[in-house]
């Protein structure tokens, strides 16, 4: 079990992560979602023990994680910088990973290099943005670390490369279950792989739930204005739009099937929201139109 207790990350006056408590049971794939600047990377740095929290602490199986060699060996954190020497060749970067990581699978790394058609003779500095991300994915997955954290590891990858990335991630997780935390802005593409979703907003956890229970959680109700308004009473309104006598309201929370049936009898129509629309509505700081 990984536990964050009161984890706060401050940069001078700026609070990037604000007293977060979070429990992550092991062996699951987590999706970390949040807008730009919501604190995802700072949270992940603390989770990976790359950064000592300004306050609070991370515990792995009850032990403080920071500067704990046992935890460090079993954590792989792939971030933008890749933490590599840019003048090294890809081959060297992979060799170093194999020396540092007891759980490194060299055969699997070679397979991934092949899948992504990476040229191991190239210097890290000469890789394209997408190839750099592919190298990050190879380093992250082949380390087979008990806690693998991939922070926007798809940047610059084309649609084919991303598809290969998701496929390999799932296949390797099925063969070697472990805790994987993946941050992304491409919710629609990858959400099917997440067992749980964590949404961050302005340094705090807005939501942490099973992915499946978020599908269809929001609903847009459309119809004659007064009827829609009456139906929405008691529900949280996430978005609204009116045109003439027609009103559309996006509501949070799963609706009672009986209420939907009654609404339909009155001529209202109901359109459940996908994950991405729900995310947009929950994290937008400005009023939004109803989703359709």
């Amino acid at each position: 079990m990984i536990e964050l207790r009161g984890v706060t990350v401050r940069y001078g006056e700026t609070v990037a992560v604000d007293a977060i408590d979070l429990e992550l049971p092991p062996g699951k794939i987590y999706g970390l979602l949040g807008r730009n600047g919501s604190g995802k990377t700072s949270l992940l740095s603390a989770l990976a023990s790359y950064r000592k929290p300004s306050a609070g602490a991370v515990f792995v199986d009850g032990e403080p994680a920071f500067e704990n060699p046992r935890v460090v060996r079993q954590t792989s954190f792939i971030r933008d910088t890749l933490d590599l020497n840019d003048s090294d060749r890809v081959r060297t970067a992979l060799d170093i990973a194999s020396w540092l990581r007891p759980t490194w699978d060299a055969d699997y790394a070679a397979k991934l290099v092949d899948v992504f058609q990476l040229d191991t003779r190239k210097r890290v500095s000469s890789l394209s943005r997408g190839q750099r991300s592919m190298l990050g994915v190879v380093l992250g997955l082949a380390s087979r670390a008990a806690l693998t954290i991939l922070d926007e590891s798809y940047l610059g990858m084309d649609a084919v490369a991303r598809t290969l990335f998701y496929r390999e991630l799932l296949a390797d997780y099925l063969a070697h279950p472990r805790t994987i935390v993946l941050s992304t802005h491409l919710i629609d593409e990858v959400a099917d792989l997440f067992e749980r979703v964590i949404i961050m907003d302005r340094g705090r956890i807005l939501l942490h739930d099973e992915t499946d229970s978020l599908r269809g959680r929001g609903v847009t109700v459309t119809g004659q204005a007064e009827r829609v308004t009456a139906f929405a009473a008691g529900h949280t309104v996430l978005g609204e739009q009116s045109l003439g006598g027609v009103r559309a309201l996006t509501l949070d929370g799963r609706l009672d099937p009986g209420d939907i049936l009654l609404g339909e009898r009155e001529g209202l129509t109901f359109g459940p929201l996908g994950l991405q629309d729900l995310f947009v509505h929950l994290t937008s700081q400005q009023p939004l139109e109803a989703s359709r």
């Binding site: 496929r167 799932l170 099925l174 959400a191 099917d192 792989l193 269809g216 994950l275």
Partner: protein, 117 residues
């Protein structure tokens, strides 16, 4: 394959029920393992497991320890009975509502159904 506007485990359970009703899954036939299912449909295995667990709860599938999951011997009959019960409420009633909206009388519908026999 799956859409994200309702829980995927529900869609999985519905899909397997349709396969049983349609005959592409036979009674006492083994179904895919959750890992096979997850790999095939590119979804999280816990989501797939939840779909299968629901079918076991409903008696549509049964488990053989250490071997896998199988279609219950009486699954098709039970599913048919349940669907038949919902048929008029879920299929016929919406059709009659639409008929009323566009001004098709019950006589016209009966006539049409008679001509299809």
């Amino acid at each position: 394959m799956f859409h994200d506007r309702s829980p995927i485990y529900v869609q999985i359970a519905d899909g397997i029920k349709n396969d049983i009703l349609g005959g592409s899954l036979e009674e006492d036939e083994q179904v895919m393992s959750t890992n096979q299912y997850a790999a095939f449909y590119r979804i999280n295995p816990a989501t797939a497991a939840k779909g299968f667990a629901q079918l076991v709860d409903e008696g549509v599938l049964y488990k053989k320890r250490g071997i896998g999951m199988f279609v219950s011997p009486d699954a098709r009959g039970k599913l048919r009975a349940a669907r038949r019960e919902r048929f008029f409420a879920e299929v016929v009633e919406p059709m009659l509502d639409e008929a009323e909206r566009v001004g098709i009388s019950t006589d016209e519908i009966t006539h049409y159904l008679g001509s299809r026999r």
